[in-house]
Symmetry: C2
Subunit: 239 residues, 2 copies
């Protein structure tokens, strides 16, 4: 469980601006698409970076093989009915529009004041099937993992966001906002009642960001958790 | 979202004791089974009672029709892969063992010191298919609603308990413990990593109960929520 996020970003919903029309900045083109099993190595690294950010590496036990088996099973359920990952990809050249019956990738861009120095560029090159079309300039910048939840008070499904994460060198550019907006828009289009997630109470930047996105922060609720050996012992309870 | 619970109950895992072997008490026989669409009227009333208990009736908007459509769709997914309801039934005479390919009902009993005066007995008569077999003495006493969640740190699914509720006159008898144990046991048997839920910080009885069940209470996390018109507005965001 975790929800890190970029600090409050400026809005980035402006239409794509070509480089020569704005000599003071350069565009970073963005794509949000459904992740696939090929993306697991990147997803694994992103989750680990999030654990480091949250100071929770002692709780990090995921392996790429386990992620692959649980997030991308051989007979996957319909999209959005179970665990779902949106991947954020970045490129200095525009993405081509591609079709996807379940979720057409969301294309956008942000304007950069300064070029970004990405020290992990090589290890985060996208594994998307279509990178050969647009050159190998596509870099994975973040992800959001979510799944359905349910409100009995509304009698409606919703989405629960387990993780939202943008790599450090790409923060403060509106990219976390794009990822959260993508999930909220999908929920709204499906007629869902709520999108929920949790935040660490010391993560003031994230809380401010979420409030700017329109979220309520609920102060009264506390998470309860059964896990590890305590949970396993319940397998042998004689009911 | 809600999680009310019975206050700390005594353990009730003792084998069934026949009435004449314990003249000081009388047994209340219990059954936990998967709910069906026929149970929706009872589930609706239970959720409303929980909203009253939690002082959150302003957030209660569920109708029986909405519950039926979302919890028991025409082509339901496999059990435990989506929203799942366990119903707690009570009877003064033993339940017959019945088969269920997905979840054999859990039969147990508790010993009562005093007879229970259930003022809503008539409106909570069970709608189970087999009540004719055991007479119409079966009363719905509570429920638990849960669904899969996912831990990226464990790379494993778990269960999230949205609601756990025992009707007031049946509290303090170990019945909430039975419901929570049923979910934890199911998670453990499926190899899941965690069972999680939330509790209101003023509900000291419930917190004590959960701690006695082995749960950790996580003090640092806060729930964030997008809902209502704020969420719906995201349907029109141009991404």
């Amino acid at each position: 469980m975790a929800a890190a996020a970029a600090p409050p970003p400026p809005p980035s919903a402006a239409p794509i601006t070509l480089p020569d029309s704005n000599p003071s900045g350069q565009p970073l083109f963005t794509r949000i698409r459904l992740a696939t099993a090929e993306d697991v190595p990147h997803i694994h690294k992103l989750i680990h970076q999030m654990a480091v950010f949250e100071r929770l590496t002692d709780l990090f036990h995921a392996t790429p093989a386990d992620l692959s088996a649980t997030l991308f099973p051989p007979n996957p359920p319909p999209p959005f009915t179970s665990f779902t990952v949106f991947l954020l990809e970045l490129s200095s050249i525009p993405f081509l529009a591609t079709a996807n019956p379940h979720f057409p990738p969301l294309l956008n861009s942000v304007l950069l004041d300064l070029p970004i120095d990405d020290p992990e560029r090589e290890s985060f090159r996208s594994r998307a099937n279509d990178v050969n079309i647009i050159g190998n300039d596509v870099i994975v910048g973040g992800f959001v993992l979510f799944f359905p939840n349910y409100s009995t008070f509304l009698a409606k499904p919703g989405f629960y966001i387990e993780d939202i994460f943008v790599r450090e060198c790409y923060r403060r550019k509106g990219l976390g906002k794009m990822l959260l907006t993508a999930v909220a828009a999908q929920a709204a289009k499906m007629g869902y009642g709520r999108v929920e997630w949790v935040v660490l109470d010391w993560n003031v930047n994230a809380i401010t960001f979420y409030e700017q996105m329109g979220a309520q922060i609920l102060p009264e609720w506390r998470i309860c958790r059964l896990s590890g050996e305590v949970l396993q012992a319940y397998a042998h309870v004689n009911l």
